[in-house]
């Protein structure tokens, strides 16, 4: 199955490092470089194996009678090694096996797949036999992938793989809107947002109910979030019909989109300043008279640079408001423009299939050297992708503090990874553990009941 981001690991490492005899090599000159040796050290000392294992076991690593010891080993992992070597259907018996494999192979990327009905590495025993024995996914988190390249048509500051603080707010909007909807509309609680390491964010919904969703249900949730449709050729990307917005969209608009559009996106992306930019916005207005009116007005005028975007937006809004009385077509035009420039754009395919693999948190992105750290949705406005810990930075921190304290502090606690791992444990793993316990107990009870009253085959 497809792997997200597709970006293969390339050996962008600078000069080969002198490693022999020196357990802590000095960092390279540039800060954002990725180095296989650093990766090795990272895996040796910082990667949180135990926490990852705890997460993915969902309580089955405990001592409760309802625990299924095979659960963790039925999870598929995949490694992307140096030189684009790709290993699939990997599985591990426990945390230490997983750690040994990662340290030995030093994968540039680790992906997490579904929990299958049998150990993935033993799947061939099941695909050749006909009838019931089929290798298939048993559970899998509900996942989302938001990638900045899907917004290229509406950002002018960067394009492609680059990001900056002008366009990053689009990701902030995506997190806020989707997180709120997942909680308020769908009732999910255990939601982990992770920086993808370069230009986007991933979302892992880990509630038991989410893990049991079928492909069809996942599709329906992805479609629920789909507002921007249409291709390059279609001027209108968003069609909000009807005299009112669905409550979910209305909430997104009033709580997030309007504000971010008018205060950040409009200005950061200079949406109305240049002819090229405002042309794109006007293309979304389905009324020629409004379009030409604005075009003419903005052609000739040249207000002070600071205010041009907000002033022009006010003018456009006013005209559209007046136009509402003319007919239905302009009724939702203001909202449509705002939605087109801000509403989250998801990669549908990632969410729809249980067997889709997604990059694991705490991986290091080979192109940027940045760690895929969790993002707190309650504080996502403060997240700055430019300040995410990088490999060289972490190595530096490890070096420095090695000699300084000599305390019994763990390695990760001494680095800037500390807050991320702390957040992962406290805000995500702990609440999840409580749910796991309750879930194990109730399903165990249910199983006992069923076995007690089981009839011998119904017709």
């Amino acid at each position: 199955m497809e792997v997200d981001e597709g970006s293969a690991a390339t050996s962008t490492a600078g000069q080969p490092m002198e490693v022999d005899g020196n357990p802590n090599p000095a960092p390279p000159a540039q800060q954002n470089e990725f180095s296989p040796d650093y990766l090795k050290l990272y895996y040796g000392r910082l990667f949180p194996y135990a926490d990852m294992h705890k997460w993915l076991s969902y309580g089955h690593d405990g001592k409760h009678t309802g625990c299924d010891a095979s659960f963790f080993s039925r999870r598929e992992f995949s490694f992307t090694l140096e030189h684009d070597i790709y290993l699939r259907y990997l599985s591990f018996h426990d945390a230490s096996t997983m750690e040994a494999a990662i340290r030995e192979k030093c994968p540039y990327k680790i992906d997490i797949g579904a929990v299958y009905n049998v150990d993935p590495s033993k799947r061939t025993a099941y695909s050749n036999v006909g009838g019931d024995k089929v290798f298939s996914p048993a559970e899998r988190e509900l996942v989302f992938d938001v990638d900045m390249t899907d917004y290229d048509d509406i950002r002018s500051c960067c394009s492609g793989a680059d990001i900056c603080l002008s366009c990053w707010p689009l990701m902030t909007v995506a997190i806020k809107v989707i997180d709120t909807a997942l909680r308020d509309d769908f009732g999910f609680e255990h939601i982990l947002w992770v920086y993808s390491g370069r230009r986007g964010v991933h979302c892992w919904v880990c509630d038991p109910r989410a893990r049991r969703l079928t492909n069809e249900q996942r599709s329906s949730i992805a479609d629920y979030f789909r507002v921007c449709k249409g291709s390059e050729m279609n001027g209108k990307k968003v069609a909000l019909t009807g005299p009112a917005l669905h409550p979910s969209l209305l909430r997104a608009y009033t709580e997030v989109l309007k504000q971010y559009f008018e205060e950040k996106i409009l200005l950061n992306q200079s949406l109305l300043a240049s002819e090229q930019n405002f042309g794109k916005v006007l293309d979304m207005v389905p009324d020629e008279s409004v379009r030409s009116q604005m075009r003419n007005k903005w052609h000739s005028s040249l207000p002070s640079k600071d205010e041009v975007n907000s002033k022009r937006w006010k003018q456009l809004k006013q005209l559209l408001e007046q136009g509402k009385s003319k007919g239905q077509v302009l009724r939702r035009c203001v909202e449509e423009i705002v939605f087109a420039y801000t509403y989250p754009r998801l990669d549908m395919e990632v969410s729809k299939h249980m067997n889709h693999l997604l990059k694991a948190p705490f991986c290091v992105h080979p192109k940027t050297g940045r760690v895929c750290v969790p993002i707190d949705p309650n504080n996502c406005e403060a997240f700055n992708p430019m300040q995410v810990p990088t490999l060289p930075q972490l190595m530096d921190e490890l070096n420095r503090d090695d000699t300084a304290s000599g305390q019994k502090q763990k390695d990760w606690e001494r680095t800037s990874l500390a807050s991320s791992i702390q957040y992962f444990k406290q805000s995500f793993l702990d609440p999840l553990a409580r749910t796991n316990k309750a879930e194990l107990e109730s399903s165990h009870r249910a199983k006992l009941q069923e076995m007690a009253s089981r009839p011998s085959l119904n017709w």
Binding site: D185, F186, G187, R209, Y224, G242, P243, P247, L249
Partner: protein, 488 residues
Amino acid sequence: MEFKVAGGRRTSFGDASDVGGVQSRLSFYSNSSDVDVSLEDFEQFAMDRLRVLKGIEEGRTRGRKAEEIDALVVDLWRKHMRTPNAADIATKDMVSHFVLRLAYCRTEELRRWFLAMESALFRARFRAESPESQRKFMEDQKLPYKAISSTEFESVKEKLGQVARSLNQPVPTADNTFYKVPFEEVPELVSARRVYLQRGFAFVPRDQLASIVVGQFRARLSKALALTNRLWTSTIAVEEKDRLTPIVEALSMRYLGADYSQPSKGFVGLQDLDNLAKNSFPLCMRHLFFNLRHEHHLKFGGRQQLGLFLKGIGLKLEDALNFWRSEFTVKMTTEKFDKEYGYSIRHNFGKEGKRVDYTPYSCMKIITSTPGVGDHHGCPYRHFSQENLRSVLEDQQLSSRTVDAVMEKVRNRHYQLACATTFEAIHGCPSDGINHPNQYFEQSRRALQGGGQAENTSSSNGLQSVPLPAHHDPPHPVERGTLPIPGP
């Protein structure tokens, strides 16, 4: 659950348990109860239910809308599922369902058909129930669908109104009942944002509720069918091979319409045959007839298929003998004809041997026959090569668009629909469906004679609850086994 069929040992299909939903007339058929059933009832109940299901199929292929199907079902149910004692209807309902489960679990195609028809039946019956009865049913089946209280309605009224307005629909009032349903149950509504979601629950208006309950019905029946299939192949088929198995296997192939054993509109004369053949015979019989005229001979299969058909349209025995004799004696002596062929013609009319009046073949029987070298019987839409079929159709002056449409249906193995399309092109009026060559003939006569009062034995959907006469198949090997359903 056990079924005790009279005259046999108990056939065990599992544990007896509570009869689900007998008080409410609806059922998910999750379990059946212990009942004693006679062998005749075993078969008869199933056939009656099959008539209902085939009626539904016919309605669907005619493109009837949902409301029309609902009315059709009420009709069909009343007509076929009656019992002398009203209290027995529930038993008949259950027994017939479970017997048909056995009959239709055996192949993927059978299962799919049964699932589709039973779901449509269930939907219609559910929608026909009062809201109170629906509520009770959902409660009995432990479905997690709760109607919301008026206080809860007040609290979400505004949001429900927003959803309605976003869909250009009228705003709901306190009269609309809304149900709180886990969002997993309504993916289509979630997908299109046609429903208000709150903490994992969808607020579904009452008119959407049927879809959800039907979804449950479908899912359960689908699982049950797979289970039944395993059980059938592993144990039941063999255990019951002398008793229930033949009945079950025949059920899925049973033709249930009028049998045309007696001609409906009086008799036809010899002199009319050529004219009738040109205008009103279905393609299979045209082909046989004109082949006979041309070759002055037909092999056994052809003689049976055409001969019985002619009997069905009203050819008397004497005329039949003269007809066949006049053709055959072009190539042989009269004595030889009388000796070798006359007997079997008289036999078909029930004048020889065990004196059974044989019934003309239905489309199902003809489609599943296996014409060999030198044979001309069978169904042209099925048995002719594409080029041959095309040229035969073009000979009938059909437009190339019609021919293409027919060939398309043939490609999709809808032979009877192909025949109906030909009928419609030739007669310029719609057909009521073709399940039997004599039905084609009668529809054709009606259309050509200005569509007067049809006092024929077939009802408009080709199905009727005639008590079937002792239905004997002529001595011709009948193909048994897992065969696909006739029709679309």
